[in-house]
Every structure is written in C-alpha cells, then in structure tokens.
C-alpha cells in the first residue's frame, strides 16, 4: 500500500519525461537551448566583446589596457585605413556592376533559350568551388609569362598583361576572378525571379507587337526589381568582405594595391597582434555596411513590391 501511494506522489522517470514533453514551454526551452548557447557564445557575446576590445590596446600577451576612443581617433587619421577603404570600394565597383549585368544576361538567356538542368549545373559550378581553389587556378591562368590567358593574348598579337602583378590591374583582376565564381549563382537567383513573371504579360505584349528588346525593358526588368534589389544588397555586402581570393593570390600587394579592409584587419590582428585596432576597423566596416545597405534599400525601394 505504502509503495503504491508513493508511486502516485512521485511518478516514475518515464512518466515525468512524458509529462515534460507534453509541456509546451519546457519543450520550447529544451529545443532552443543548444542554439541559444551557440548564439550567445559565438554571436551575441563576441559582438559585444568586439566592441569592448576596440576600446583597448591589446596584443593578447598582456592584459588589455583601456584606451577609450584612441583607436577610433587613430583610425580617422590612418592613411592605411582610408587606402584600404578606397581599394575595397574600387573592388566593389569593378565587381558588382559587371557581375550583375552578366548575371541578368545569362538568366535571360537561360529563360528564353534553354532551361536545361545541365546548362544550369555548369553555370553554377564555379560557385561551388572553394575560393582557395578559384584563386589558385586563376593565379595560374593569369600568370604573366606562362598563363594561358597571356599566351592567348600574345598569339593574337597583343601585349601580355601583368594582371595580378601590376598595381594598376590587380584589383580589377581580383574582381574579375570573383565575377567568374559568383556570376552563375547570381544568374540563377535572377532566373528564379524570371520564373515568377506571369506568361500572360508577355503574351499581351507580343499581341501588341513588342519585340524582345522592348519586352526586356518594358516587362522583364521592372518585374525583376525586387529580386535585383535583393541580389544587389546581399552581393554588395558580400563584396565588401572580400578576403580569401586576395589571401591566396596577391596578399594585399603589389604595393598595397589589393590591401582591402578585411586584409588590413587580418594583418593587424593575426600578424601584428594589434587586437584593439583590428576590431576597431571591423566595427568601422560594420557601420559602413549598415549605411551602404540603408542607402541601397532607399535607392532600390527594396522593401516595396510592384
């Protein structure tokens, strides 16, 4: 009798577990816990800590010393920072327009020419490759003496171009390499956008006698605006953070011609161990990206649909 009574008061483990799994809040907390630990440990706390480190002078060997806004004052007058920002901007300005225009062209071709899954697969292939692989293969293809691109130019009777070896060409060449890697992915996003345009609109236009060129400017492009806005905002954010390709090919050179913001941060943090200053630059990059994104959203009216 006594044992039975206690069994009622204190349910057995399986019963208690079952009760817990029927409790909405308990399950919610249980399910959320791992991701919350991950979020707090590797996103939330580091973001705050990054901000904190940017107010210190710290080489990781001794304790950080609080220096207030000193790093930020240094940043404002640091030529290296402004140079890096200019180099990054010039990379973005080479990369984004070419990539986006080509992507729209390829997407329209896929839409109006062939929907073959094999063609789409080929187009996407470079995007699936590690940046390291892409960097290595173009480093070889663009080699000033032996690379096939320059060998080809010479065969055509043209002068060879020191793509990655000349400060005047280096950043545009890096941008070109990344256009090669990203254009297929972007084209597939645009292609997906094209699929949402109702066929009836094209039919109506063709009854009115519109040609390919007119339907492109009159229908396709305006209807694509939301997709294009999304593609532009995300690819500009990504473009500002270029690192891998430069780490593999030019490493900031020749003569700082490819010293982009992320390369500057990497050097400051992991080669000179100026943790405070490195995080200051990273906070600045974050603020720049916020401003750039807001401007883009405004210009593209990205939050509105037609």
């Amino acid at each position: 009798m006594a044992s039975q009574a206690s069994a009622v008061k204190v349910p057995s483990w399986p019963t208690r577990l079952r009760q817990m799994f029927a409790n909405e809040k308990a399950v919610a907390y249980l399910f959320l816990l791992p991701s919350l630990i991950g979020f707090v440990t590797f996103y939330a706390v580091p973001a705050v800590r990054g901000l904190f480190i940017s107010f210190t002078d710290w080489n990781m060997l001794s304790d950080p010393t609080f220096v207030g806004l000193e790093n930020y004052q240094e940043l404002v007058v640091d030529d290296d920072f402004w140079d890096a920002l200019l180099v990054t901007l010039s990379y973005v300005l080479w990369n984004i327009p070419i990539q986006t225009l080509l992507a729209v062209l390829i997407a329209v071709m896929m839409d109006r020419l062939t929907r073959s899954i094999i063609v789409r697969g080929i187009i996407l292939l470079p995007w699936l490759m590690p940046n390291v692989v892409v960097g290595l293969l173009w480093l070889w293809m663009l080699d000033p003496r032996l690379g096939i691109v320059n060998v080809g130019l010479e065969t055509l009777g043209l002068d060879s171009i020191p793509f990655l070896g000349n400060p005047d060409y280096a950043i545009a060449s890096i941008a070109g390499i990344n256009v090669w890697r990203h254009v297929g992915y972007t084209a597939l996003l645009v292609f997906a956008g094209l699929q949402t345009i109702p066929k009836s609109i094209y039919e109506a236009a063709s009854i009115d006698g519109a040609n390919d060129w007119q339907t492109f400017w009159g229908i396709t492009l305006p209807m694509l605006r939301p997709v294009l806005a999304f593609v532009l905002v995300t690819s500009v954010i990504g473009s500002f953070q270029i690192f891998d390709t430069i780490a593999i090919t030019t490493q900031g050179g020749p003569i700082n011609a490819t010293e982009v913001i992320n390369w500057l941060i990497f050097e400051q943090a992991f080669e000179r161990f100026n943790m405070g200053y490195a995080t200051t630059v990273s906070v600045a990059l974050f603020l720049i990206l916020v401003v750039v994104s807001i401007i883009q959203m405004r210009l593209l009216r990205a939050d509105e649909t037609d």
Binding site: P130, V132, G184, L194, K199, T234, L285
Partner: protein, 299 residues
C-alpha cells in the same frame, strides 16, 4: 507539364546569336577546370615550355602521385617539380570530419530551434527571433577576432572542437531558413496527433522532420559545401597538420612553392584533387542544389 511562367522565347536570328553568347559563357566557365587537369597531367618541365598546348604536352600522372605522397621526393625533383607533397588523404579526412560535424550539428540543433520558433509559445519568442535574424547583418570579421580569442583562451586551437564550435550549434541563417519552412507546414496533422495524445517531442520527430526532408537535405548540402570551402576560420584556429583542412593545406602549399618558378604542375594536381569531392556531391545531388537556389537566396 504546362506551366504559367514566362515562356517568351528568343526566335530567329536572335536565337542563334544568343546561343553563340551562351556557348562562350559555358566555355569560359568550364575551360579553367580543364586547364587545371591538363596542367596537373603534364610533366613539370613541359609546363614551362609548351604553354599553349591544349592537351598535356607530355602526359604523366606523377604529379598526382607525388602530391598524394606516393612518389619519393628525389624522383619528383628529377622530373622537374619542387618535390613538394601534400598529405592529401590526411587533409581530406580532416575536411570531411569538420564538414560532417558542422552539418549534422548545425542542421539538427537549428531544426529544433526553428520548430520552437515556428510552433511553440514561450515568453519573448519574437524578440529572440529578431535578435537571431539581426545577427545576419553583422559581418563575419566582427565576431571572428573575439571568437578566436575565446577559442584560444579555452586552449582549443588546433582541435576539431575549436574549428567546428562556432558553426556546430546554429547559424542564424539555418534557423531562419528552417523556421520559414516549418511555418508553411499544415497544422492539421499535428493537431490530430495532439488529440491522439502525442507530445511535442513525438510531433517533432514523427511529423515535422519527416515532412521537412527536402528543405533539411537542401540545408545540409549547402552547409556541407560551405564548411568544405571555408578558409579564414580554419586558417587562424587550425594550422596544425592533424586538423588542417584541405583549403588551408592548399593555401600553405601555395605559399611554400618557390617564388621564381612555382611548381604549377604540383599545385594544379593538388587543386584538381581538391575539386573532386565537390564535383561528386554535385553530380549526385545537383538537381536539389539547383532547385534550392531560389530558396536560399538569403546568403
């Protein structure tokens, strides 16, 4: 199947011109891959002389054997290479361990979190979700340095745990992506199961997960490929050979090659080997990757 989507087709001469342009695009996309293989299959000395040969000038598989460590160094140096080896199988194994751990952990724990956000009620749910989403805006480099400091303080550099940790429990994107899908699942099944006395755990494992197989697989493929391609994080926390992944290994291989006369044949053989796993995954699951691109546009 008749579909109602845009079917405007190029016709007449425009169509021919457009096919030519498309042909050029496909050529530019594929040619570099051939050039990697072609260079890797050429005897190193001939790489420097027969620069325009479209086919390996002097066919050999020695570069591959050497990079894999199957060829002793003196023979390789005699053949004109730098004799550098790449412990390919070790680094392949490391890449595999890292990518698999990240994929399994991230997808599973993001799925449980996404289910909580999509279906369960708890205080501050929407605020917390908003916090998760806002982390998508923060550039990776901002959290990179503090994360490195953390992993370093915990003495976890040069361990698989250290390389995997930041991606193992969640990424904001994975939670967002799966929540979006879970929200679209019809609630009838769950409600019927509830009436039959099923608890939330049963519903998650018996209903939600099985119904969500396609998006979960999609997320898993994308997560795997991205972990496989990751460079900067494993570069700063995992240089040690025991945990070095392929991308980092290739970077080091490149930096060690002689500056004046780089070992292009060896480098390209290594590059070709690094490409193979991705190509295999893509051949097996390519259709799913392609179909998912419109979904995952968020990246």
């Amino acid at each position: 199947m008749a579909n109602s989507t845009a079917q405007a087709q190029f016709r007449g001469p425009t169509r021919i011109v457009m096919w030519v342009v498309m042909g050029i695009v496909i050529f530019i996309t594929l040619f570099p891959f051939w050039w990697v293989v072609r260079t890797g299959l050429t005897v190193p000395s001939r790489v420097f002389t027969d620069t325009a040969a479209l086919w390996p000038a002097d066919f050999t598989i020695d570069n591959f054997l050497r990079v894999l460590g199957f060829l002793d160094t003196t023979a390789a140096v005699e053949a004109g290479g730098s004799g550098q080896a790449l412990k390919f199988f070790l680094f392949l194994r490391n890449s595999f361990i890292v990518s698999t751990l990240i994929t399994v952990g991230q997808v599973f724990f993001s799925a449980t979190a996404a289910y909580a956000f999509a279906r369960l009620k708890f205080p501050f749910r929407d605020q917390l979700f908003f916090l998760y989403i806002s982390a998508l805006m923060v550039p990776g480099i901002v959290t990179l340095i503090p994360n490195f400091v953390l992993i370093n303080n915990l003495n976890l550099t040069d361990t698989f745990i250290g390389i995997v940790a930041p991606y193992f429990l969640m990424t904001p994107f994975a939670v967002f992506f799966l929540r979006q899908f879970f929200l679209g699942i019809n609630k009838d099944l769950e409600e019927a199961a509830m009436l039959d006395g099923a608890n939330y755990l049963t519903i998650f494992f018996r209903i939600i997960l099985p119904v969500s197989k396609p998006p979960i697989l999609t997320l898993a493929i994308i997560t795997f490929i991205q972990s496989w391609n990751e460079y900067l994080w494993p570069l700063i926390v995992g240089k040690d050979e025991g945990v070095r992944v392929l991308t980092v290994a290739l970077g080091i291989f490149r930096s060690q090659t002689p500056q004046g006369a780089p070992d292009w044949a060896g480098l390209m053989a290594g590059t070709a080997l690094a490409i193979i796993p991705t190509i295999i995954i893509f051949m097996l699951l390519g259709r799913r990757v392609l179909d998912s691109i419109q979904f995952t546009g968020f990246k």
